[in-house]
């Protein structure tokens, strides 16, 4: 589940994770339960989004970065 396309835009899976974070979920487990995605996919997807600076991570807790919020705002 690549979450970032080669053009730097989030894929549908990436958007799903970003929206889950926007809804207030912060752990990979909670996002997996909420979205129905397998946990391994959520973990790898969040790592990819963090690499693109759309998401921040601290001690296993994830949040939208200012860049992620801006991107999500422009998508909706």
């Amino acid at each position: 589940m690549a979450c970032i396309s080669p053009d730097g835009q989030p894929t549908e899976s990436g958007k799903k994770l970003l929206r889950a974070l926007k809804s207030g979920l912060s752990s990979a487990q909670a996002i997996a339960q909420d979205t129905g995605l397998p946990l391994f996919r959520v973990r790898s997807g969040l790592r990819e989004l963090a690499g693109a600076e759309l998401v921040t991570e601290k001690g296993g807790s994830y949040a939208l970065s200012p860049k992620g919020k801006e991107l999500l705002g422009s998508l909706s």
């Binding site: 690549a2 979450c3 397998p38 946990l39 391994f40 997807g45």
Partner: protein
Amino acid sequence: MEEVIRLPRLGEPAPDFEAPTTHGTIKLDDYKGSWLIIFSHPADFTPVCTTEFIAFAKIYPELQKRGVELLGISVDSISSHIAWARNIEEKMRVKIPFPIIADLNKEVSQRFGMVHPGQSKTETVRCVFVIDPNKIVRAMLYYPLTTGRNMDEILRLVTALQTTDEHKVATPANWRPGDMVIVPPPNTTESAEERLKQGYECVDWYLCKKKL
């Protein structure tokens, strides 16, 4: 100096990896807390591998019910994996739902001992590694290039391992879910004497079975 590669052994941690797959970059750590089956195949667009991929895709829902994820691997590229999976879906109407590692530099396959030069110097043989939620290698199967794997056995193996973990028992030859299981044999004279009085179905003190 030639690098010495330590091959995986049962009961020891699985070799760590981070690898490009058809579902993005995946690490072994991403599967922590789940069971994982990593299976290698020799090459994309080959006949036996195609039958196996269809068969793995068909047992995937059953594996997921048991909390098991599947991860394929070969030394082909991401583009090749994508094209092959699309071809399988188009020609055989089976979607490949699990990721496949593109191990072009053989980094992961060498760590897992998947290349057996006596079979092929360039391809991975048909390996299956069952890894538990603590990232411990619990079972390994190796099949030659010519012989497709048996999915019933893979399901049976995972179910047997999970039954052992849950109930602290062993499973006899040809065990199937619902069959009697083996009570661990006594390890003292005293417990050997007591064993026959404990209500199990015993052939003798060292071979006792029970229903779950």
